[in-house]
């Protein structure tokens, strides 16, 4: 019964691909670095998702009442505006966590067993055994998940549906919105609007950027020969997921109502781009701070120097679309693909340039894994839109 929840979300393909990579690379031991790459990717993306997934599940399944728990639940809903949508992203992560964790344990156990007993086991069994164990974990985990998940989902649904039942949760203004005072009136209006929307759309990404920053704080740049780019890949993956809400049709994203309002196109462009720049730049700051703290000022300064350039480049990508729509209706919009690209490119650009500086293999890995991440992101967003 609980199995259906595992396949409810869109990330199971990515999860299974990652789990399969871990299993296959560990069992066959083709390339040591592949194992490292798979492990790091799993750690930085799936583990982070899982942390949020577990926290979300716990928060929604908890019987605790009060404003603080309400805010926590809302925060853990991630990029989805409505908490009732959060199961589609985070709850499947629970499944990946259990699967990956179970498979890892199984492999460790097998490794210990093999080294202890020095048994000769054929590679075929080395592949089959973890897969069988993965299925067992999947089924066992699904029951536990169904028990907790059903309760949490019911509560999420209830929370979303009970409109008059509880205290409305107020929304605080986002950090930085007072900067609007520095802008001319019309641009300030748009800056405030965009900053509010963007910071809420991408709130999951902010938490994730802190995780990446922490990873840099712990490891610095000593990831081994290939792994410098891994945290950035993970950010790319999450960046794509976080852009799902912006990839809606205009009528669902609030763009359509703007057509009926008296808009000053230049003000909209300035306000929107400044808000995008402000939020996007923040995402890289966690890493910059981490490098400073680790006494690696040179790299930190390089990142800091790259950040505005890459974010400017990202925002410039929205320019054509914006001007295209400006001509027709007086509306400037960098929504849809442009908005998604604007978030993706700072990550890729910064990560790519950083990897080039540090070493070429990192760049190659970044390129290949970026394609994978983007593919997963596109697949996810297509399914997200169709939902």
């Amino acid at each position: 019964m609980g199995l259906r929840f595992f396949f409810r979300g869109n990330l199971h393909l990515a999860s299974f691909a990652l789990a399969a990579t871990v299993v296959a690379s560990s069992s066959l031991a083709i390339v040591d670095q592949l194992i490292l790459v798979a492990f790091s990717l799993t750690f930085f993306s799936v583990a982070a998702l899982n942390a949020l997934g577990f926290a979300g599940l716990a928060a929604w399944a908890s019987d605790a009442e009060g404003e603080a728990i309400g805010q926590l639940r809302r925060g853990l809903a991630g990029p989805f505006v409505s908490p009732r949508h959060s199961p589609y992203l985070y709850f499947p992560a629970f499944a990946y966590g259990i699967t990956t964790f179970g498979v890892s344990l199984a492999m460790e156990g097998m490794d210990a067993l093999l080294s202890k007993t020095a048994l000769a086991i054929s590679p075929l069994w080395l592949i089959i055994t973890p897969c069988v164990l993965a299925v067992i974990f999947l089924i066992l985990g699904s029951r536990a998940y169904a028990r907790t998940g059903l309760k949490a989902i019911a509560r999420v649904a209830e929370e979303a549906r009970t409109i008059y039942g509880g205290k409305p949760a107020p929304v605080d203004p986002p950090y930085g919105w007072r900067l609007a005072k520095l802008l001319p009136g019309a641009a300030a209006t748009y800056f405030k609007k965009e900053l509010r929307e963007q910071s809420r759309i991408h709130r999951g990404l902010w938490a994730y950027s802190v995780l990446v920053g922490l990873a840099f704080l712990l490891y610095g740049l000593d990831f081994g020969s290939v792994l410098n780019a891994i945290p950035w890949i993970a950010v790319v993956l999450l960046a794509w997921i976080s852009t799902l809400p912006t990839r809606r049709k205009p009528r669902h994203s609030g763009e359509q109502i703007l057509l009926t309002l008296p808009q000053k196109p230049w003000a909209r462009l300035v306000g929107r781009w400044l808000a995008l720049l402000f939020v996007a730049a923040h995402l890289g700051l966690a890493t910059v701070f981490a490098l400073f703290i680790r006494h690696e000022p040179m790299q930190a300064w390089i990142l800091l120097a790259i950040l505005p350039v890459s974010t400017l480049w990202a925002v410039a990508l929205t320019m054509r679309r914006s001007f295209g729509r400006l001509g027709g209706s007086g509306l400037g919009s960098g929504g849809g693909f442009g908005a998604a690209a604007s978030w993706l490119t700072p990550m890729v650009a910064t990560g790519g340039i950083a990897a080039t500086i540090w070493q070429l293999p990192g760049l190659i890995t970044l390129g290949i894994l970026s394609l994978v991440a983007v593919g997963i992101g596109m697949r996810t967003s297509q399914i997200g839109e169709s939902r």
Partner: protein
């Protein structure tokens, strides 16, 4: 009296299919005009053109004396719009959206008036909730609040009462009637006119993209109270 909403010979085609064909209409200040027609008659397309969301193939639209497409900022400053779809930004609160709508019209956001409208719409405690978290009915009420808070000269309503409870419908219609007394012009399309027929001045009947009949509000009120429009629409459908 000068019309505050004026459309002349509007035409719009989707590919080979003509949806609106040389449609002309006008609404005067303080007037409530209903635009009715069967499904597919071209009502929503007409309203979308009038509100600046669709560019007509031919024709001219003026709101408060300003041409909608050559002088869009001045024209839209006088416009309020309640859509058939739920189209407000989901990541803003009702208050933030209302504040934004007023700010782009370069007016001062009247907090008291906003609170009064919220209460009237049954959203007194929901001003600081994200629009995306509201139910469909509440989002529609929020659209009314956002449209009315800037006291527009022209209000265009596209099936704005659909999905609303009876109490909210009554409160909203009464508020619109009050603002009409202050000079607001309203062009309203709705399948069921019963909710606001008592305030109607005229009914424009649209069939296959053409304006085929204009009926006085008095005629509608005197007609069969249960279903005044069905016989008219049936006649034009045939």
């Amino acid at each position: 009296m000068t019309s505050v909403l004026n459309a002349e010979k509007l035409s719009k085609s989707y590919g080979q299919r003509s949806v609106v064909d040389e449609l002309s209409l006008c609404v005067e200040p303080g007037e409530l005009v209903a635009l009715v027609g069967a499904n597919g008659a071209g009502k929503t397309t007409t309203l979308a053109m009038l509100s600046g969301q669709l560019v007509p193939d031919a024709g001219q639209i003026k709101i408060s004396g300003h041409e909608v497409y050559s002088d869009p900022i001045a024209a839209r400053r006088a416009l309020g719009y309640v859509a058939q779809d739920l189209i407000l930004p989901p990541y803003l609160t009702i208050e933030e959206m209302a504040e934004f709508a007023v700010a782009v019209k370069e007016r001062v956001f009247a907090e008291k008036e906003f609170r009064r409208l919220l209460e009237l719409a049954g959203l007194a405690d929901d001003g600081d909730r994200l629009i995306g978290e509201l139910s469909h009915g509440m989002q529609r009420k929020a659209a009314w609040v956002v449209a009315l808070v800037s006291a527009p000269k022209v209000l265009i309503v596209d099936e704005g009462l659909a999905g609303l409870d009876a109490t909210s419908c009554r409160a909203i219609v009464d508020e619109v009637a009050n603002q009409i007394k202050s000079g607001m012009a309203v062009l309203w399309t709705e399948h069921d006119l019963e909710g606001f027929s008592q305030y109607l001045d005229r009914v424009l009947v649209l069939a296959q993209g053409k304006l085929v009949e204009t009926i006085s509000g008095d005629v509608i009120r005197e007609a069969d109270a249960r279903d005044p429009m069905s016989s008219i629409l049936e006649r034009w459908a045939s």
